[in-house]
């Protein structure tokens, strides 16, 4: 799992102190992979060394210092590239895909529908490759066929989960849209009340962290 990119993604949302970043990471990922403050501090120092973040005030090696971290232009470019890049199945140690989608639901401005579709296409491509490999495997080579079968079912499970993620986010958008429309109806018409085509996955709003 890429702690580096998760922290960059959170900083693309808003500048933050080291402690606040750790808190935001835990709340926005359901505390599935809690980080200790030392991991956050060390990662931020590496990001600073690589020119991806800077700190306004305070010593960068002191997590209790009050200064806020923010992204540089290079940091913004790095996090934008990360959102666009599908996670390869083979590199899924501490599941980066889960973290990426959890963050995408929280960080404003992320095109979640595009992110989900890119990931879906990447996994489907893997599925095409695995299916072709299994078709070309000797029917008597049972170990290879079983291993490939396991990869095929795991990839399929990921795709089903992506469908579920998309549905959940669409429902969340409809709920927040309904709430917003009721609020806006009381306040009068605004840009935000423009109709969105039914079923469209565009413009899924970000939530505040829990």
């Amino acid at each position: 799992m890429s702690v580096k990119h998760a922290l960059l993604a959170l900083l693309s949302w808003r500048p933050s102190t080291t402690y606040q970043l750790r808190k935001d990471f835990d709340t926005s990922t359901g505390q599935a992979w809690p980080l200790n403050i030392g991991q956050v501090s060390t990662t931020l120092q590496r990001l600073e060394r690589d020119g991806l973040v800077v700190r306004d005030g305070g010593a960068s090696d002191d997590p209790s210092a009050p200064g806020q971290w923010r992204l540089t232009d290079a940091g913004r470019a790095e996090v934008a590239a990360w959102w666009r890049r599908p996670v390869p199945r083979a590199d899924r140690g501490r599941d980066e895909l889960v973290i990426k989608l959890a963050l995408a639901a929280v960080v404003p401005g992320v095109d979640v529908a595009d992110l989900v579709q890119r990931q879906r296409s990447a996994i489907q491509r893997t599925l095409h490759d695995l299916t072709r490999l299994r078709r070309d495997t000797d029917p008597d080579d049972l170990p290879t066929r079983l291993v490939l079968g396991n990869h095929i079912f795991a990839a399929e499970a990921d795709l089903r989960w992506l469908d579920e993620v998309e549905e959940t986010l669409i429902r969340a958008r409809r709920r927040s849209g309904g709430t917003r429309r009721r609020r806006d109806a009381q306040a009068g018409p605004t840009e935000s009340t423009k109709a969105v085509p039914a079923g469209s996955t565009e413009d899924i709003p970000a939530r505040s962290p829990r």
């Binding site: 296409s121 990447a122 996994i123 489907q124 599925l127 095409h128 078709r135 095929i152 079923g199 996955t201």
Partner: protein, 246 residues
């Protein structure tokens, strides 16, 4: 000198096809600016959630519906330029359908079901039966020729339906959830048959919601809200080599 290999002929061409139902406030844009080319020997899967336009695309491809704008060409013929009768003849001679529930006529044997469209097209009973037996052999169910659908398993019935879809001169097969009523292993067998038929020259367009089955195709096309949003297929070997070199 590099040998010249011309691309196989396009069996189906869908060019900027849109289908709009209703009007005014009740307008539903079922399909928007769809582009798709399917060549002989090619197998393409269509995936997308309910209401994304999958069935509309399949109906347009098969001439069961016409686009509000854009074109659908089957073997080079623009379906919009045909009369209803001409379109029915083209459908019968060129396009085969496979459905989730097989749609075999229960009173007829497998061979009679497969021969039926040829007989409708004026073939003699003897010629049609000969072609039907050949088609049944190609889908691995020649031994079921004289059996009725009620005496077949789901997988066997679907093999008969595929034979009917590709009997005689037909080369375009449109399949709507062909594995929907089958268990997983029988579904895989049906995909093997479809893959085999494509490898031997048929053009296959299949709607499915099962990613595992779509992966048997050469390409998977994704539809969403009436638009083709993406497509993917197996990795390009050249790309893999380039990745290894990095």
């Amino acid at each position: 000198m590099t040998a010249y290999h011309p691309a196989p002929a396009a069996v189906l061409q869908i060019h900027r096809a849109s289908r709009v139902h209703g009007g005014g406030a009740r307008t539903v844009r079922a399909l928007i600016d769809a582009d798709l080319v399917l060549r002989s020997g090619e197998f393409v899967a269509i995936m997308g959630p309910s209401g994304s336009g999958k069935s509309t695309l399949l109906h347009l491809a098969g001439g069961l519906d016409t686009p509000t704008s854009g074109q659908v060409l089957v073997e080079g013929t623009d379906l919009a330029r045909l009369t209803v009768t001409q379109r029915a003849i083209l459908r019968r001679r060129t396009i085969g359908y496979v459905f989730q529930d097989f749609n075999l006529l229960p009173a007829l044997t497998a061979a009679e079901n497969v021969a039926f469209p040829l007989e409708l097209d004026g073939w003699s009973v003897r010629q049609a039966r000969k072609a039907a037996l050949a088609a049944l052999a190609e889908t691995g169910v020649a031994d079921l020729a004289d059996r009725r659908p009620e005496d077949m398993s789901g997988g066997q019935a679907q093999r008969v339906a595929i034979a009917r879809a590709l009997v005689g001169p037909r080369r375009l097969l449109l399949a709507d959830e062909p594995t929907g009523a089958l268990d997983s292993s029988t579904g895989t067998e049906i995909l093997q048959v479809l893959r085999d038929r494509a490898d031997r020259g048929a053009a296959v367009l299949m709607v499915t919601h099962e990613a595992r089955f779509a992966a048997w195709a050469d390409r998977t096309v994704f539809l969403r809200d009436g638009r083709i949003v993406d497509e993917t297929g197996p990795s390009d070997p050249a790309e893999l080599l380039a990745e290894d070199a990095r």
